[in-house]
Symmetry: D2
Subunit: 356 residues, 4 copies
């Protein structure tokens, strides 16, 4: 934040300011921009899939996955964040590339992560030992402090979107990390993970079922369901559009055991817009990353306009008016920091301009 | 409760007791059994499917469904309840018979109801206008104060188990009832109700979806999912048995929007026991009705032992030790008053004798 | 409930009814009054203090307090309850008389109890060993399954109102009772109980403080504050009247650790009406007992009208319109079953006629 | 965070890195320190009262309070935060100086604030128009988006500690600010604010009382009690020490309507240590500011040791072991970000070394 220029020809005042600096104190009345009228966060920003995909594939050719790096990940580094590898002040977004027959080794960390698969199939993510198959359009969770590793026993690479609350958890000085064993575990490639076997039916809760494997004290509650399959998401969106007769539909990925967001810090949704549907213009406290899964269209974010197609990713900042318009029917994956904003009782949303 | 015999040869004391009676007061020290050491509720009781089915079918022949009666229902009337048509102090259980081409007219009431289908198919229950198909093993909810009516457009009768919290709601002096219009509504016989279209996938919550139709203020929150299909229940139980390697599995029917019990007053579960599995002996505060869906076996309740097969129904009273043993693999539907017992902070459960 | 008269000259129908009775089944279509349009509970009823006090004092002269009876209590036995010693279907109300130098021995039970002191001072109630002083207008809690005993080391008797959820807990088949040791404990007569020392300041929660002594599993959470002093209640009511400029004020007794009602099953409030204030006419699901602490006035309950003065007690049934009018400034203590009604999602309230 | 040095003599790799930078992407495998094993936040830091007081008084002489600056506040600017005027990554701490007959004008903001008074008396803070008297040891809340202004009608200055969640709210891009009217309001200097009149008694909740004045949608729930008086805090701490026989006591300032922390983002506590008491060594996720109110002693924070007396302020960072030792009986006010850490399910605490 800028410091207000002050004509301090008074020597006493100059002395005071010098003494304050020495004492590690700052005078509030010289601080400008500390309390803006409304959030003045980042600018909107878009990354193109063409570039993301090409660079990820090149990294796949040139860089191996080894202990230390652990993952072949390209993070969305918002140019407004001064070199930090973050998409917004609270959210990490990235593309991850796992080549044929590669393995990303086990580790765990307090930041929570989710994966939304964009391309490829036949990869297995082991979450606390439970093998979770990954395919296009699937959402896979690796909650806070759960052990996770990625295995690609197949012949084609996979690319997915990684979303984490890492910047937020860093701001809270709460990052813990632990590498896993170097020996890859044996696992059975069954199509349904234990998690899905137990929690995969709406409204049916196993009694006395496998407790979620726990890390150290405070490693956090999370959804017991670790995979949300595209076939289900797709069917649900289609049904809601049909039943409601509306032009757009949204499903939120939630913890089936509580109905709450999948992570205490992260909200994820899939938005479907019929062709030519334009949404209301809305502004909301908190930032979001949008990943285009299918279709094409455009989004107006404040005074910017992004045309997008499959795989493109963009950021919508806090309190900036946003609306989407589909050219052809489109599916947009959204990740936001809403749950923590709401926990802090700071959530606000406002329809700037209402449409169908 | 019995009154303590008291040798009151003292005339003054006799006068006092007479005056107390006149004043609508009772002396605590003469009341016996008011505060028993442990709950001394009802005895266990069993109703045989053979009898239930035969009597329901005879009623189907002899009694029409008309306004006023509204339903062809035979209620389980526990002989220990002095003529009240209730299964326990808190629970209503019954068999309902809906003949070919019959309709049970619309009404609504504050007691919450659920239906577990035992025989027949092709019946539609309209819940607040949403047509819900009914088939064997399905659980269908008609929550507190939701309009509901039953249509059988087919050629075969259906018999289902009705479970309600009616005795409980009567004890709370909170029964409201309203008859619906006499004109049967038009509806489309689609296999998926709007409710299932919106809420039928685990962990996918529609955003801004149809709000549950509401009755008068205070008519209550309830699960937005109105049907729990046998195919899902069966698959989940099979998967849990397989994954866990255990001899028995339980799924609880819950509100997918909150993970809580389907009704604020009622818990419903399906218990599967492999052949020869015998459960631990457990006693619990609160009463339950058990409906055998498939298989055969026996249940020991206190000092009684019930042998059972498909369609048999029995009551397990509060705090009486209970265990089940399957002769062949068995599925037992259970309905209990646990949620309200728990809300009153009166829930206790105790393993009397632990087994596999 | 009445059974509908039915002209069953059909022999087959007669046979069916006979067979149903034999099979412990009842046909719903013959049951009248099972589902009334609105709650048709008890009638209102009033007990006069003059009588209550006189009879309690006579009992004090004639009946000793001994093991077995444990308490010298006269229960309000609503004449509409067929001889049961209960004030409503859910609430127990009573006057308790503890003579000079008497002791009522220790016991505990799952029904929760509260005491509102009407006359006398210098009595100590030990709650889980914590000595709680009792004086006029004080509310003292003995929550579910807490040990409690009453000691009167002084020279004058005390009379208080006892309120319990006993009828409700009986309906739930959840009554547990345990007598305490026969040896009276030593205790120090300090003016502030440990409970008050720890929890007696608004908004100040002791960290790592004495946990509430627990009974068996499931014996329930409750307010850690065991005494609500009249001086505080009086001051708060006076302040609200002054600050708000209104004609009436209500304070609810709540758990200071959660803001919830003092018991999971019971709500308690103190209502102050300025002279000549007449409240709105309101009807509410659930029943209540009212105890006049000070002042005089009248209450209209449905089609009845009760004139009342200090110490009078009356019952207002479920869903019957109620309003109060003070002749002189009046304080009315109210006990209701609202928390459990609300937990069952059955609560409704309606202003029938709005006033000041 | 540092970037790993990488010997990229491979031209293709160099080209990739250049293209990534151009595309606003960063390779995870070059980022070091992104995921430390444990939180490596700030260093501990202490500010001396002697300096704080002297500099605040000099500012009082030299700087007037005017629109734009609004407040005469010296913020604790942790030297490890690169010039930001914050005490930790999440907490703002400051001393505020209000001279005799001064007024700090009305404004409101989404960051929540609290004041702990160190010196002076006779100041009034108006919170949404409710005049709250301030005196030494009092804690006064100005919750998120509540209008507030400070009036000093007296002859002596007041100095208080200001604690805010401003850095946290900035990280969440959720800062809103609005200046109030320039006309000072009339108000009555009564000793009890409306807030205290309504909510000042433990366990007594006004029914239908003044709703807390609300700001724009989402401006947040907060404690209805705005002032926590030193006399109460002092009495409670003394009572707990006496009753428990322990060497230290803690009270947490909570919302009396819910028992939760006073703000969704902030925890405040008062810790009393008897002379010579040394606490256990504990580390906890999240940072805290400590303000010495009375007494003297020392605190060991990681490898540093601070000796302190009245008015001194220090910061304890996330996950660094902390213990306190009192030379003479001491009262320490603590402010932390625990509620939001807990909402994010990131809270952990660990006793490193246990002591009495």
């Amino acid at each position: 934040m800028a410091t207000r220029r002050f004509a301090a020809d008074d020597q006493k005042l100059n002395d005071l300011y010098a003494d304050l600096a020495t004492a590690d104190l700052q005078p509030l009345w010289l601080l400008q921009g500390l309390l803006p009228a409304v959030p003045d966060g980042l600018s909107p920003h878009l990354w193109r899939w063409k570039e993301l995909r090409e660079l990820a594939a090149r990294a796949g050719d040139l860089v191996t996955i080894e202990r230390g790096g652990d993952r072949r990940v390209l993070s969305l580094a918002h140019p407004g964040l001064g070199g930090l590898p973050f998409a917004t002040h609270t959210l990490w977004g990235a593309v991850q590339f796992l080549g044929a027959r590669e393995r990303a080794p086990a580790h765990r960390h307090s930041p929570a992560a989710l994966r939304f698969v964009l391309e490829g199939s036949g990869v297995w993510t082991l979450v606390n030992g439970d093998p979770v198959r990954m395919g296009p359009g699937d959402l896979v969770l690796t909650p806070s402090y759960s052990w996770h590793e990625h295995h690609n026993p197949g012949d084609e690479p996979m690319i997915w979107f990684d979303g984490l609350d890492l910047p937020l958890v860093r701001n809270l000085d709460a990052v813990f990390f632990e590498p896993g064993p170097d020996v890859p575990p044996a696992y059975v490639q069954v199509s349904g993970s234990h998690s899905e076997q137990h929690y995969g039916s709406a409204g049916l809760a196993p009694v006395g079922a496998v407790p979620p494997p726990t890390g150290p004290p405070g490693s956090g509650a999370h959804s017991p369901l670790l995979a949300y399959r595209w076939a289900e998401t797709d069917a649900r969106l289609a049904a809601i559009l049909e039943v409601s007769g509306r032009e757009s539909a949204i499903v939120r990925y939630v913890d089936p055991g509580s109905g709450r967001d999948i992570m205490p810090t992260l909200r994820a949704e899939m938005h479907r817009l019929r062709a030519r549907c334009r949404t209301s213009t809305v502004r909301t406290v908190g930032s979001a990353i949008w990943v285009v899964y299918r279709g094409s269209g455009q989004t107006v974010v404040g005074d910017q306009r992004f045309e997008w197609g499959p795989g493109d990713m963009f950021v919508t900042p806090s309190w900036v008016p946003v609306d989407h318009e589909a050219t052809e029917q489109a599916d947009l994956f959204m990740l936001s920091d809403t749950p923590l904003i709401a926990a802090a009782e700071l959530y606000r949303t406002e329809v700037v301009s209402a449409r169908g």
